[in-house]
């Protein structure tokens, strides 16, 4: 029994099982509480606590799944290429607004946690919070933060932006469909883009382009910007 609980195969299977359970529940009742990722995470944590198995033991199986985040980031090159082809005419505007948004995101994420004296681990993990999860994990770990912590901040920004994003953009008078989707993708990655897609194909395409470009812009700027902010506010 003990050897089974330590087997990576068991934990890979358990992860699949809870995620698929979430998918079934979510398909029947479309409430956020049954989102497959939430059911997957809660289910695995629940089982670990129940069986008294350490997180480190789970990781031997979990890392096998998380390994595929690497090629998934590379795969984002395809939507980046295709969406940019569609929106080429607005190319310079798209590049300038994503650079400004990425910088604004980094500064406004890092400064509050720095000023309120949160540990460095929190600061480094907060920096890439608007970026899509797989890139955020890499950027956070490169800065000296923690991938899991970064992933949870990313999810918080995703849900928040998905809920209040359209309202904020409406108040600011952003009516242009490209700008609407682009802002949602930049602030709230996949969740924001799913919301943008509800208002049309153009907004959805802009959102998925924003995910890719914000990932690139933030990975490039993060090390220098975070170091500078530490010098100013740390």
């Amino acid at each position: 029994m003990t050897t089974l609980l330590e087997s990576p195969v068991l934990w890979v299977t358990v992860t699949f099982a809870f995620f698929l359970l979430g998918k079934t529940l979510y398909a029947r009742w479309r409430v956020p509480f049954f989102h497959p990722v939430l059911v997957g995470i809660a289910g695995v944590i629940g089982l670990l606590v129940l069986t008294g198995v350490e997180y480190e033991t789970y990781r031997s199986g979990g890392d096998i799944i998380a390994f595929f985040l690497g090629p998934s980031v590379v795969a984002l090159g395809l939507p980046l290429y295709e969406r940019f082809q569609e929106m080429k005419r607005q190319g310079p505007a798209l590049v300038v607004s994503i650079l400004a948004g990425s910088l604004a995101g980094l500064v406004s994420a890092v400064v509050p946690v720095l000023l309120m004296a949160a540990p460095d681990l929190v600061v480094f993990s907060m920096a890439p919070k608007s970026v899509t999860t797989p890139i955020a994990i890499s950027v956070a770990e490169q800065l000296g933060g923690d991938g899991s912590l970064a992933a949870s901040f990313v999810v918080m920004c995703g849900i928040l932006g998905g809920v209040i994003g359209p309202m904020v953009l409406h108040v600011l008078g952003v009516k242009d469909q490209v700008a609407f989707g682009y802002a949602l993708g930049a602030a709230s990655h996949g969740v924001g883009t799913a919301r943008a897609l509800e208002s049309g194909r153009t907004a959805g395409a802009a959102g998925s382009l924003a995910i890719c470009l914000n990932g690139v812009a933030t990975s490039i700027m993060a090390p220098a910007v975070v170091q500078l902010l530490f010098r100013l506010f740390g």
Binding site: S72, S97, S138, Y182, A186
Partner: protein, 117 residues
Amino acid sequence: MLGGIFYLFLFLTAGEILRSAGIPLPGNVIGMILMTIALSTGILKPERVRTASNTLLDNLAFLFVPPGVGIMVHAQLIRSHWLSIAIAVVVSTVLVLAVVGVLQQWLGGRRQHDHAS
């Protein structure tokens, strides 16, 4: 499909090599940039990587579960710093929405106007 997975790993490996050679970006992001360049220059046809890329991206959420489980280790940390975390998340999300939305509408709209005139 298998060929497409090969290309993804090929770009990932190239990215990791360039990262260890001193480029200050995650290897997977460098790999994504390399693949975009290969697609834009016509070296790589999109059809070759379409099935593999879409299969991974369509199921991306599943890959978030293991990192998500890792949060159990940091539950205490989040609890003791919840206020600064909440402020950073709210302020930053609203600011990114505003900066990108307003700037893109202004710059994008002006460009369209230039074309018209």
